[in-house]
Symmetry: C2
Subunit: 462 residues, 2 copies
């Protein structure tokens, strides 16, 4: 069977694959620092060349910021469908504080970690150079062994992911026909643990709101006016406190409209992961799931919407005390959304709640800070099931379908701009220290990541 010979070739070529990873890590493609612009472009050129070497029609494409790499497989395929778009990013985070690195961040090395795990150390080893190369190396082995790929493949590598992706949306819009296909594959996520592969199938969306309550037209003295004059901090705290009920459910009318419960089979799988409030929150000094009563900690973070207070300020906040009745107080409030919730309706419900419940002499003004819906690949989607089974075969342990509590903007852009769902498969581990000194990528992540993509592509095309 073809896949076995591809896997055998991957094993045989691991040293060469690793050498290529080292080459890519050596390029300091720090996107946020303009001083490294030429290095970022060198990273793009390296990726283009690697893809061209395999046989992709690959190009470096300019943007107002750092370039994109786009590559199309025009060679033979076993199956015309699906046509997948693989996304990764070749830019990396800055390295400071440099003094905390044990070896120079752009001089990658193979090291041994606790427990004898072999790791590749260097900035970008995991995020996202190691991860994106798992796909490139899988394609390389597949082509080398079979002269074809299992299905049609387009590749998009971004050079600005670590600096907010300023050029991505316009690039997707301008190249929609070229990039919009059946399914996106995004390799920027983690495994559940070093032995358990995972597919991230849901991401929460976000509505950000800033509300400012104004009462008097100036600050007043709390001795002369305390009592009769309305206090905007009092108004604000009262309103915010009313946003959650005793079960920590959000009280906005219609907030849970369209929110589906997690399917029982998936919930059972999550329960089987053995995550407790203590194990999830303990590392941060917490111990109790503070979200909706009756929901597990994983459900709370992966499958339930929230209302959170991200900032609040009003009155005197310096050292000591000032008996001021401030004129204003404001809060930054965010709602994490799950699929089925409409960001515009949630925003409207929040503003309606505030304005409807304002007491006399209090005014509210609002500022919108972003809104994006939650995303979910249906848990029974055929592509998801095929990929899950392929990962399960590779790792010898059932792949778990997990959620992501935060957003991965590119996945929203694929959905909203290209009309394309994403399958998020990655081989990072929680201890990879991405964005921190001494970033690493396990050799098993890299090796079995390559093998995994070979299997997933093979399975998707079946």
């Amino acid at each position: 069977m073809t896949i076995d010979s591809v896997l055998t070739r991957i094993d045989a070529d691991l040293d060469a694959s690793l050498a290529r990873l080292f080459d890519l890590v050596r390029i300091p493609s720090i996107s946020t620092d303009p001083a490294f612009a030429a290095e970022v472009r060198r990273g793009a050129e390296w990726c283009r060349a690697a893809l061209a070497e395999i046989g992709f029609e690959a190009s470096v494409r300019d943007t107002p910021g750092h370039p994109m790499v786009v590559a199309h497989w025009r060679g033979p395929v076993r199956s015309e469908s699906p046509h997948v778009l693989f996304y990764g990013h070749y830019d990396v985070q800055p390295v400071d504080p440099l003094s905390l690195w044990e070896t120079p961040p752009f001089e990658p090395r193979l090291a041994e970690a606790a427990g004898g795990r072999k790791i590749v150390v260097g900035r970008g080893a995991a995020d996202d150079k190691g991860q994106l190369l798992t796909f490139v190396e899988a394609a390389r082995a597949y082509v080398a062994e079979t002269g074809a790929l299992p299905c049609r493949v387009t590749v998009l590598f971004e050079g600005e992911e670590e600096s907010g992706s300023p050029s991505l949306a316009a690039f997707l819009d301008a190249n929609k026909a070229e990039l919009s296909h059946d399914l996106a594959l995004v390799c920027d996520t983690n495994m559940w643990d070093p032995a358990t592969p995972a597919i991230t199938a849901t991401l929460r969306g976000l509505v950000g709101e800033e509300v400012t309550i104004t009462c008097a037209d100036r600050d007043l003295h709390s001795g002369l006016f305390g009592g009769p004059s309305q206090n905007p901090i009092r108004v604000l705290t009262h309103l915010l406190a009313g946003l959650h009920d005793e079960q920590t459910r959000v009280t906005l009318p219609g907030f849970y409209d369209g929110v589906a419960d997690v399917p029982p089979a998936l919930r059972a799988q999550w329960e089987g992961l053995g995550m407790t409030p203590e194990s999830f929150l303990g590392p941060y000094g917490l111990s109790t799931a503070a979200g909706e009563t009756g929901r597990s900690v994983l459900e709370q973070v992966w499958a339930r919407p929230t209302c959170e207070f991200n900032g609040i300020v009003g009155g005197y906040t310096g050292e000591g005390f000032k008996t001021v009745l401030p004129a204003q107080a404001s809060a930054k409030v965010s709602f994490r959304l799950v699929v089925g919730q409409d960001p515009a309706r949630i925003r409207a419900a929040f503003r309606d709640y505030i304005t409807t419940n304002l007491p006399a002499d209090a005014k509210a003004s609002f500022r919108a800070h972003g809104g994006s819906p939650g995303l979910a690949l249906p848990f029974d989607s055929p592509a998801l099931i095929k990929a899950r089974d392929a990962l399960t075969r590779e790792w010898g342990k059932p792949a778990v379908i997990i959620g992501g509590g935060g957003s991965i903007p590119v996945v929203g852009d694929f959905k909203n701009r290209l009309g394309m769902e994403s399958l998020m498969i990655g081989f990072g581990l929680d201890d990879d220290r991405i964005h921190s000194p001494n970033e690493k990528y396990d050799l098993t992540s890299f090796h079995h990541g390559i093998r995994s993509w070979a299997r997933v592509l093979d399975a998707l095309a079946a």
Copy 2:
């Protein structure tokens, strides 16, 4: 009758009294600016000389800061009691912004204001040089006319009132026997309106607390942890919101213990003043009394305790948005107290409420910011009634007994350090622009203020 001849002499000597006020205003005794230290001392010397000229045994007394002036009347008195301590301050506020003064602040002048009212313009004309001289000039006329004072009098003039009275407490403690007498007379307050004299008989006290809620041991990302992790802003707003009930009464157990209702006669008098929420709050853009339901705006500010939020801060408060779950949030909370409430018990009740109602994973820490009880001269106190009747005779209109919403620290110090009640009588007006450019004192305030003190001293000794 003696008092009539004293009053006649006051009228006859008004020009000379005014000339002395001008002399004192000419001294730029700005206490907060070290560059003016010699001028502050010159102000003290001027006061000492003025009192000595009348026949007081007067001295300038050094402190670690600016000097005090202490004077004793050792001459004849009509009655040995009461022995009163008159308090005023000869220092003044800074004058900036100088550009907003129509004439130089230390070149006093007589001017005509809207409606033909004659006013003395200059820094300190009202606060407190004009006010303290009403007493000095009354004593001068009394002695000149009768060779005696009605009762025993000690005078204390402070030179640091406008810079926080740093030396006052220690000075009172060190000179307790010399300064502690039957009753303090404090001339640093206002009339109800230009035609209506007032005695301030109550002052609210204050308990200041800073509470900090800590949850996780670091800031967390609201996508990865939003839901299960406890949010200190949520905890804080919930706790603060619980401090007031639907009637805006403070919910702390025992908070109203010892709080007496305003006597019906006094409440009727306050109602007769015609103050509405609109007239009290309108100038500040407010219109509705936001304190305890069912209490008038004057009752809310003069006679009822409050819980106010003076500052709150937590999380991200800069421009834009950050999806942070902060580790901490804190608030500055103050309680205005009326007589009968124990600051220590109120502080303890607040801390107990917070700690008792903390949810899991939330810790609270506290910082005390001052505590002082409310003060009240009993409304049926004989001295109060005598003074009220004397003022009523002078102004031809019933003097009103009012409250002060804030604290006047010296009154608390007299009470707590010298065991002495204070009668707060002053002739300032709300439009005197104290602390602001173009400060003024009405000539009627000065003239009838002098006459008022003659009558009050006469009445107290009766």
